[in-house]
């Protein structure tokens, strides 16, 4: 992408100097891109880079009940991993929370990937006219434009104790007392996260699938591949960039999630994001910062592992 724009810029400069405007513009094009990029760079510096730096710094500070004190101490990290080694093989709270978050992450990732790929595959290969493709694609994206809180509470009429699912099951005689674990449970969290984020898989995978040269599939069929072989040997490898982008999105969102696990888990499920949020409420900033640094490190390791799995440069 950048290479293409680089060559464009080069070509334009060549032409500019060829027409003799070169000397007049020489100072212009040198400075102008910097001025144009400055507002965005400034926003990211003030509201993204510096805050991350502040988080890392504060994670090494001390805190008392009333204030935070600049220092260099490992106390906060020590607090978080306190007893973790001593209690082995039992897991300490920190490890249990991370494992629980990771569990949700993997389940939701598997769900969104399976559903997302299937839907994207259907849209890309089975919907024949562009018009219907656009309509179906838009149908998939409309819920993305509504509030995630609304999308969460909209499960209440269906999953609640007297909700549609329980009422239906009772009237069919399958169960006699309402199931309690439908709402405010692990199940509700997984369902809701899948509901919220499958779109993040559909869009990039659909994009990758649409770029696949259809003659490759014809060639595979002519060479005697069956449908399953075409899928696993031709289509899935070519859809890798999309699968990768979708996976990164879903995994990072679920790892840092505290809203869905809070609301759909009935505030009973521990997650890393929720720990950070609670510590912020109790003004334990250095501790929250240390937890944020650990979460960030965990997410970056995950992303790095995914990128290792697929070499993007080779895929593009």
């Amino acid at each position: 992408m950048t290479e293409a724009s680089d060559t464009l810029a080069e070509a334009r400069q060549d032409r500019a100097s060829a027409t003799g405007h070169g000397t007049a513009r020489r100072t212009g094009p040198m400075l102008v891109p910097y001025l144009q990029a400055a507002p965005m760079a400034l926003v990211f510096l003030i509201f993204f880079v510096l805050p991350l730096a502040a988080t890392v710094a504060v994670s090494f500070w001390q805190y008392t009940q009333y204030s935070i004190v600049p220092a260099i101490t490992l106390e906060n990290y020590n607090d978080i991993f306190q007893d973790c080694l001593r209690d082995l093989p039992d897991l300490c709270t920190t490890f249990r929370t991370y494992l629980s978050t990771l569990k949700f992450c993997l389940i939701v990732w598997a769900m969104t990937l399976t559903i997302g790929f299937t839907i994207a595959y259907f849209l890309a290969f089975h919907v024949r006219t562009l018009k219907f493709q656009v309509i179906c694609f838009l149908l998939c994206t409309v819920p993305f434009w509504t509030s995630i809180v609304i999308r969460m509470i909209s499960w209440i009429p269906l999953l609640g104790r007297n909700g549609l699912v329980n009422e239906t099951l009772i009237s069919m005689g399958i169960i006699h007392t309402p199931l309690e674990g439908l709402l405010y449970s692990d199940f509700a969290v997984i369902l809701s996260l899948t509901h919220l984020y499958t779109l993040f898989m559909v869009v990039p995978i659909f994009n990758s699938l649409m770029r696949i040269d259809r003659t490759l599939i014809e060639a595979a069929r002519d060479a005697g591949a069956n449908g399953f072989q075409i899928l696993t040997v031709v289509i899935i490898p070519l859809a890798r960039p999309g699968i990768l982008i979708g996976s990164i999105f879903v995994i990072t969102v679920v790892m840092g999630d505290f809203l869905t696990m809070g609301i759909m888990g009935g505030q009973q499920i521990a997650s890393v994001g929720k720990i950070i949020q609670t510590q912020m409420q109790f003004l334990q900033f250095p501790l929250a910062a240390a937890n944020a640094v650990i979460l960030l490190a965990a997410v970056l390791v995950g992303v790095w592992a995914l990128l290792k799995l697929v070499d993007i440069r080779k895929e593009l």
Binding site: Q36, F122, I148, M255
Partner: protein
Amino acid sequence: MTDRRPRSFYVLFGIFLLFMMFLYGPMISILLLSFQSADGGLVFPVRGLSTYWFEKLWAGDGQVAIGPALRRSFVLALVVMVLTVTISVLAGLAFRHRFRGATLLLYVAISSLIVPSIVVSLGIALEFRLIDDAIKDLGAAWNIGWIQSNFVSALGPFTSGLGAHLTWTLPFGLLIMFAVFNRFDPAFEEAARDLGATPLQTFRHVTLPMIAPFLIGIAVFGFTLSWDELARSSQVMGSDNTLPMQLAAKTTTVTDPEIYALGSATTAGSVLFIILMFTLVSLIQRRRRRLL
């Protein structure tokens, strides 16, 4: 390819329909339940048909008081929208040239998308608290009365909140601008320049009209992403609340369909906004076709 659909089509079509039910079913159910009459509850069956809960919501005397949060969210979303479009277009123009730090800026923008929102939110909150402390120290050191008596915090919807939303909307804006300028034919700008247009005139009369429909796309992203933003807002709004935050806080305490009415109303708001924007796009394009 034969005209008969393979069997896999019907299987996948069935899955697609199920997925649509999964996506829309819950939303349709709260839409239905929000039109109940006064004795309606949180679950089916639908009791009566009226706009009772919408009226109650509008009057603001129910369990959900949303007036100030709604206004704040709306103004914030408008500001975020304007800034996102402006900053993204400028950055998009910059990326058409070569400049030092271009790759770094792109990587920072992408990381801003994938760093967990709670970490970004916490970081901005910490940064602003440090700024608060510095301002208060300054006030004490130089004996500035206004700071000592009136200053509480720099945290607020239009300082730290605005910044937090921009870290979420700008990466989308930048990526859209990349897509736009990758397909952009610079010949038109060349022609304008050859006819003696200044760079500003070229941008105003050639580039801007050509990219206008996509700018509306960025505006839609900017507005709706900010309007619905919750995770990054959580720590940075100071003592104020945005609409999604208010809504999230109410989920545990509200016991009547008023919250469904609020859900239906905000969803209808976003859908109307998007329809309005896309109508604008098609109007622009129709006018352009007529001119050609």
